[in-house]
Each structure stands twice: as C-alpha cells, then as structure tokens.
Assembly symmetry: C2
Homo-oligomer: 290 residues x 2
C-alpha cells in the first residue's frame, strides 16, 4: 500500500518497500517558549530556519503546528504554512486540534497535505474526515477513541478498522490513512513498548496499512532518552513503522533510521548509510575547526 | 522454551520471557595478536582480566576460545577454562572447531556448558552431538550446511528442523539447542539483514526455539560499526533474538540490549535501564577525574 503526499513539485511515497519517511516535528511552539512568543508577534524567521535545517538533516515532510496559547491559530497557521512553502518544497503535515486552523492551512496549501490528526472518536472523525475529503489530504489516525488509550493491541486494531470504515463512508480511501499505534512511555508502564510494537505488527499484518508515530514519547521520564529513542526506532521499523514525526536534528534517532533502512533492505549498497556517515564526519571536522 | 546453562553454583536461563543473555566474546585469540602470544607462552593473566571485565559489564555467560595458530589447542583450552573457573562463577561456552579441544574443555568444566558450535553439516553434527550428550551440554547450532549460507529464511528453517531431528537421535533435546540464524554483512548483500531478521521470526514462530548470534558480523566493511551493531541488536531482539555472542565492553551494543529489554517488557519499572545509566554516569565521572 502506498500513501502519497505531495507539494507543488515533489511527491513523497510512504510504503513498506521504500525508505523510511521522516516528518520533521520542529515547527511546533508546544514547549518552545521563544518560538511561541515569536509566532504571537508575527515573527516567522525561526519557522524558516527550522524548515531549512530539517530538510538539510533528512526530513521528507514537515509538520506545521501553530498552537500558540491565546494566539489566533488559523491566522498563525496560514502565515506559517506560507513561510514554509516559500522556503522549501516539501509536502506538509498540517497539525492542529482546531478545525479552523486545519482548514486555514489546508485551503492555502498547494499540494496533497497530511492532516495531523484524528483519533477514532466520533467527534474527531466527523471534524477531520470531511476536511480530508474536501482538500484531498491524507490523515494521521491515532488508534484510540472515547475510552482513551487501551493497552491491548487487538483493541487498537479494532479502532483502526472502524476508522477505515468511517473514512470510506466519507470517501477517504485507506491508503490516505497513516495509522499511529500510540506510543506511551515505558516509564509509566513496563509493557507499553511491547504493546505498541505488537500493535504495529498487527496493523501491518491484518490491514497492510502504513504507519507513523510520535516515537519519542516512549522514553518520557527516563534518563538517556536519545539512546532509548534510537533503539525503539530501530525496533519499531522492524515491526513495520515506515514513517515518524520526529526531530531529524537529533543524531541518535537519525542514524537509527538510516541503520534501520539498511537492515530492512531499503538502502542498496549502503549508499545512504555511507552518505550519512560522510555528512557526520564533515560536521565533526567543521565543529573541530570552529 | 527454556535453555538452561550452569556453572558450579549459578544457573542462567535463556527464554523469550526473560532478559537477554550476553555471552561475552572477548576470550578469543582470533584477531588479538597479543592474547594469542600470551596464550602460546602459557600466560593466562589476560584471560583472567577479560573474564572479570566482561562479568562486571554484564555478561551472563563467557565464551572461551583457545585457537592459537600452531598452539596445542586442547592444552590451552584446559588452562583457559581452569583460569576462568578459578576467576568467576558463570556458565561457559566452549568454543572450538577442534573436537579434542572441545572435549578437553567440556571434561574439565564443572556445570552445564554451551558448545560453540555445530552447523547442519553431517560431519559437524556427528562430531558435536555425541559430545553434547556425553557431557550434558547445550549447543549453538548454525543454520547452514554443506551448501554454505543460503540467503533464504525457509532454507535456514529447514536446516534447523533437520538439526533438531538429528539432535533427538543423539538424545540431545531441542531446548538444549540455541539456534544461530546466520548474520552476514549487509556490506556484501543489501538483503542480508532482512534475511537474518526474517529467519529469526520464522525460527521463533515455527519452532519456538531460543536464538543466539554473532550479531556484529552484520556491519563488517561498513563505517560507524558500533552504531550499526546497536541498531541491528535492537531490531534482532524485536525479532526474537534472546542471546548473543558479543562484547559487553562495547557501550553502544550494551545500551541497545538494555533498551531492547526495556521495550520488550523484560525490565520492570526500568530498573536495569536506570542502573545501567548510573553505571555509565559513574564511569564518565571517574574518567573526568582521571
């Protein structure tokens, strides 16, 4: 199954037969006080630099979130999306819980965007699926519903099935859905990682769908998070994860993704691995000079 | 299924429900010129220090190889095994292609050892299985035969099945077999990692057997090997690898194993992870002082 996203001139295909797709998560004011202040004041320069840095680091899609506390989210979303479109040529993920902000971004965007996100809750589906249909966008679908996250892969699979049926009702095909199996921290529940990995395996085996995740949640509250995130990323790729909303500027996670692609047979002759190695060596040499 | 190894007083259980078992690989003169010279000259002090360092780092079993070019391998094996037994109290893996050296180590060893290794070749099975029966040892079984390594998970599974049948003929039960799915470098064949991971999944699903591997082969000839080895270890654990012959003094691989145990639900409350983190912090602080 292929999930296709596009900008004006670039197409990105998410598929089990292709290299992993990184959805850069940096353009998001949540937990970034400075960026939040700048966005509220109409300063989009950091959106520009974050876009450039993430593309340079290997992001194939960029997530744009404009959720500034007290801000005019639709207006900020519009400006942020415009700034990113003016800066780089990649498909975007329009990220908001606010339907007006989602629509503001989607209406302006030129290409086939990704909507981040819906859950299996009726209210969310009824809000998001019509927008996906109207703008021809793909959608990230989280495998939880009114019950909140359930620690049972079978329950998460059943929610995914229901989302597929509801999407079909709205004319949104299954290949436009990117399922998030829910990544919870193992710091709170020792079985959380196992459940997420098993959910990925089930979703791939039973539904053949493409997957995405905010994978770094897994290590919340634990020490040495980059090391944990890198290991989890490799394991998740082995269970079928083929895209993630993550920070490509985090070297441990980026190298884990390159290694994962290599070991899954998506990097012929290790070309991408060797290219990444040379890039890291160059960066090290530059840092040593400076 | 449980594969049990023991020393005089310690028991190690390899099972899908338990934390990963590290078989320390350092006591091996292959590619270690200094150690080879010392062993040939009857100096076993490095065997002692390597044993202590690996146990301190987290090895649960120690591999002992006495293959010094031109050396009296059975005699060296005897002395090396004695030295390790006198130094630490862990189950040993007796590692040789020479049946006299294997028997020398097994005859002396007090406990249930692991034999490293047999293949599915008739000659190897006829050499190794009677020793396993005679000394009540477990055996590492590599999934290749007269044909050499075949890049097909189904062929490797068939070889494993044949080894199980031949072992049964010799009175060696399946739980005393630890299967090595064969880890080849992706540097030579881009599909090698994928084939190995698929073989692990098949062996676990079809036969329920325990697994081991010389996992670091996967990165041979490529740059940044520790990073690759760490990612592959995490992926392999996710495919069912539950022990490996590896170097616990390599921090990247050791932390990947601890992370793998955490994400597979084998580390309640993240206790082992946090303990490992503190140990690394302590080592860093000590290094900074020195």
């Amino acid at each position: 199954m292929e999930t296709v996203l596009s900008s004006k001139t670039k197409t990105v295909v998410i598929s089990p037969d292709r290299p992993f797709v990184i959805i850069g998560e940096r353009i998001n004011p949540t937990g970034r006080k400075k960026l939040a202040e700048e966005l509220a004041n109409g300063d989009f320069s950091r959106v520009r630099s974050d876009a450039l840095a993430q593309v340079e680091a290997g992001a194939a899609v960029l997530d744009v979130n404009a959720g500034v506390p007290g801000g005019d989210e639709p207006a900020i979303m519009r400006q942020a999306v415009q700034m990113v479109m003016d800066t780089v040529d990649l498909p975007l993920s329009i990220d908001s819980a606010n339907p007006d902000a989602l629509e503001a971004g989607l209406a302006l965007y030129q290409g086939k965007a990704l909507i981040n996100s819906t859950t299996g809750e009726d209210a969310a589906l009824e809000r998001v699926l019509p927008l996906a249909k109207k703008y021809g966008a793909a959608v990230i679908a989280l495998c939880n519903d009114e019950r909140g996250p359930v620690q049972d892969p079978q329950v998460r699979l059943d929610i995914a099935k229901r989302i597929i049926a509801r999407a079909a009702d709205h004319g949104v095909p299954v290949e436009d859905l990117l399922f998030d199996p829910l990544v919870m921290t193992v710091g709170a529940d020792s079985n959380a990682g196992k459940v997420t990995l098993a959910t990925m395996t089930l979703l791939r085996a039973e539904l053949g769908v493409n997957l995405t995740a905010g994978a770094s949640n897994v290590s919340f509250g634990l020490p040495d998070r980059p090391v944990l995130n890198a290991a989890f990323m490799a394991m998740a790729m082995n269970s079928g994860l083929n895209s993630a909303i993550t920070n490509p500027l985090e070297p441990a996670v980026l190298t884990a993704i390159l290694a994962g692609d290599l070991f899954l047979g998506h990097d012929e002759y290790g070309r991408m691995w060797i290219k990444g190695f040379r890039k890291r060596e160059k960066a090290k040499a530059a840092a040593a000079v400076a």
